[in-house]
Subunit: 506 residues, 2 copies
């Protein structure tokens, strides 16, 4: 289902409760979406005594989370970090996030997310999420096997390694029969969460698509309008609705207006991420924030990138290639029109092949062109004559002494590249998802332009703008989805019931 039919956007405006004849069976807390944010919200709302109903548009639990590699960004000294021999503190984690999540990132969210990360790890394990205490130390998008810990945000690369003591914080649930993109660590996060949801007696209606909110005359949210098997139903939320139905990756109109660099490059989400949760809240006066921010993947094996250099369409090098590959993708998408090539030599190719992650989603990279003559490569690739040669000459000159003063790649990965050179074509080989969404407080309250909570409405996951406002680290989405999902669920359970005084809101 697309967000538009015949060019008209889907109706996202609230239904007035006064016009409603009959309600379907309701609940204290209605959770929209059974991804990681919804599951976490449902668990905590139920634990805190609420009668919870989850409404999920597909026929099963999982959302985008179950398809993800499964990184959960946690730190500050988790048992897994300790077991793998890494020291970390909430202060270091906070300092890293502050440096890495982008200008204007939500300070209150960053603070509590770092401060309570160890507790969040404990909560996930208490729900049955398994982690194996093994550290994966090679370049890649994710561990090749069932290792539970990996650098996933460039913590050990420039500039962050100079600012904060590095610690790996990408925690991956232990998986069996991994199939990247189909069944990875994200599945092994969602399976125990789904079992926890079920064990708590949470009711779940599948094949039930969220359409819009129901509002009282004073603006308080009191339910949702959904469609199920072609029928429109109105469901009462006695305390709160928690919107956790994903972001707007697959709403082309919103992408064009907010993140035009992702036009035709949407990825890493399900088509449930159609922006409807965001639009429905906006229609009630909710504010949106950081709508331009995005994370992006570059579709290649990092093991080769890190041993070569990544240049843009003008032959200019773009970033230190040893950083988190998603940061390379962000840089390419946001600042280089997704025009990129890897330049590598035979030694780099051989080493990358030896280092190759056998579970990688990407085929072994093949050079588009190979030549001893850089001018020939420039002409073949449409790079301005002499530009790639100048970049290579400068890189190699410094690399002779193990230095990279231009982009500060760590010495261990710096080595002069020798002819023949292979040029690997990454033009357009990027895709990503927006990071912006509803402006929420740390308990998932959806904020209006006055920074005031919209009564009866909370949100979590990619429906909201979270900790990342331009930067990113792998694992942020699952971590903040679960972390702030939990908080939203707990708060929703304590929201005043319909008809109660509103003096405690806000």
């Amino acid at each position: 289902m697309s967000a538009r039919d015949g060019g008209r956007p889907r109706n996202a405006k609230p239904m007035s409760s006064g016009t409603i004849g009959s309600w379907a069976d309701g609940a204290d807390v209605i959770v929209i979406g059974f991804g990681v944010a919804g599951a976490s919200a449902a668990v905590e709302a139920a634990v805190h005594g609420a009668d919870v109903l989850m409404l999920e548009r597909t026929s099963g639990w999982g959302g985008a989370a179950a398809l993800a590699g499964g990184f959960i960004y946690m730190g500050g000294g988790t048992p897994l970090q300790k077991a793998c021999g890494f020291e970390d503190t909430p202060e270091d984690m906070h300092a890293f996030l502050t440096a890495a999540m982008g200008a204007g990132a939500d300070a209150a969210k960053l603070a509590i997310f770092a401060e309570r990360s160890v507790e969040h790890f404990d909560w996930l394990t208490s729900c049955g999420v398994p982690f194996r205490a093994a550290f994966y130390d090679r370049p890649g998008w994710e561990p090749s096997g069932d290792e539970g810990l990996m650098y996933s945000g460039g913590e050990n690369a420039y500039p962050f390694a100079e600012l904060v003591r590095p610690a790996p914080r990408g925690h991956v649930p232990q998986m069996r029969n991994k199939r990247t993109g189909e069944r990875g660590g994200g599945y092994m996060l969602m399976e125990p969460l789904a079992e926890t949801v079920a064990s708590l007696g949470v009711r779940i209606d599948y094949d039930t698509r969220f359409e819009r909110l129901v509002a009282e005359s004073d603006g308080r949210v009191s339910g949702v309008v959904v469609t199920s098997y072609g029928e429109e139903l109105v469901v009462r939320a006695r305390r709160s609705v928690v919107l956790a139905g994903g972001g707007f990756t697959f709403n082309p109109d919103m992408v064009a207006r907010h993140v035009p660099v992702l036009t035709t490059r949407a990825g890493s989400a399900t088509d449930a991420h159609d922006g409807q949760c965001i639009r429905a809240a906006q229609a009630l006066g909710a504010d949106v924030t950081h709508m331009h921010a995005c994370e992006a993947a570059v579709h290649t094996d990092p093991a080769l990138m890190i041993r070569g250099i990544v240049v843009d369409g003008r032959g200019t090098r773009v970033i230190n290639e040893d950083t988190y590959p998603g940061r390379i993708g962000q840089e390419l998408v946001s600042h280089h029109s997704s025009q990129a090539f890897i330049v590598a030599d035979e030694q780099a190719v051989d080493e990358a092949a030896a280092d190759r992650n056998p579970s990688s989603a990407f085929a072994p990279p093949q050079p588009a062109w190979v030549s001893d003559d850089v001018a020939e490569l420039e002409e073949a690739a449409g790079i301005p004559a002499g530009a790639l040669a100048a970049t290579l000459e400068l890189y190699n000159r410094h690399a002779e002494r193990g230095a990279d003063p231009v982009h500060h790649k760590a010495t261990q990965w710096v080595r002069p590249l020798r002819a023949p050179y292979g040029l690997f074509d990454l033009r357009g080989a990027t895709s990503g998802f927006p990071l912006g969404g509803l402006r929420t407080d740390i308990d998932g309250a959806v904020l209006d332009v006055n920074n005031e909570a919209i009564p009866g409405l909370r949100a979590a996951g990619r429906t909201t703008s979270g900790i990342a406002a331009g930067g990113y680290a792998s694992g942020c989405s699952l971590a903040e989805g679960s972390f702030f999902g939990r908080r939203a669920g707990r708060a929703a359970a304590h929201d005043p019931p319909l008809g109660a005084s509103r003096s405690s809101l806000g």
Copy 2:
């Protein structure tokens, strides 16, 4: 006045009309803001028979427009273009705008803006805006004298010159006693418009600050809440409110969340641009769009930039220096962290001095460092060793034959630079303003998330997202403010009065 007092945002939520005891004297059409958009809206609303009241927070007319250099982006074959010997067509203008205004720009606005640009020129002259038929052909931010026409968008530079037949479209009202930043072409636009407003019997309340909208129970806008000399007043709009009170340049919270690259770099607006018009509409469910887009100036004389090269903090050249200097500013702000230097030689400095615009707001540029030794310059400027040398060597090598295959600066400006080199420090020397805002249709109707008009509400000028969604040309703001302001005013005059059937809305 800032948009926040003591950390709390100003109240932007609508006042319910049911709670209002007494109304101040109202009008058919209430126009918020007496800048170019508000003035144009007021004129057309009055011409179309409406009783119009303008509410302006300062003590006089003008807004940001009266402080601007005065470019009005028009074309398609205006009398001024013809008198200066340039051929242009609406199709060429449309093709240029489509290429230059950024991905995701509003197609309907681009189309009508180009199609009716000549008519808009005639309207402005009919209001008494004077233009002198003289073309200014030198590099600069604006004409040095009272010349009426200049390239202002990079039409005659790469890549646009290869795509569309170039025509200058920056029309500047003829001015006397020009003082850049105080009294320029923008003043000579606003003075006749203000006289036209007065001649039509439009009422104007100065020192009256817009606070928020008044809404009926069904969401229709029926008035505004304003403060004047400390008193809160509620003013009825019988047909429509036209929000034309500017953008959010001086709302630091909104800038941090939507255009973080402009944090601490806000400029080219008045402090009335505090986002209140946008927020007030959002509170009623209005959608926002392209909030991340911005225009930026780089604070230096283009006459030197065009003769040298502009490099970023890594010594990498950033753009063809002969393009519209605001495009250089956008590139620096958006993609190079506002880190830039001009590299020039003595000949470039001498030629730029001879070409200098005597009315320029910028002092003649002084080199921060001069040396025959590029390595010395690199070290002084913190540019990676060898990086600037490589850039210069590549530029000079191609320049020997008048070519610039890297950035395609036009041959007439390409010449090898010779030692001693001067390095001019432009780090941080940028400022700009956001281009995003309310989503409106071509008649200024403020659209909600369903793309439906909010009844009784229109908007124009920087309160809205206009034709630019990332790109820009000097003159867009005054042109679209007046062009779409007119349309909003005319439509507002015909909006159904309060209490009338709403069947004709939408």
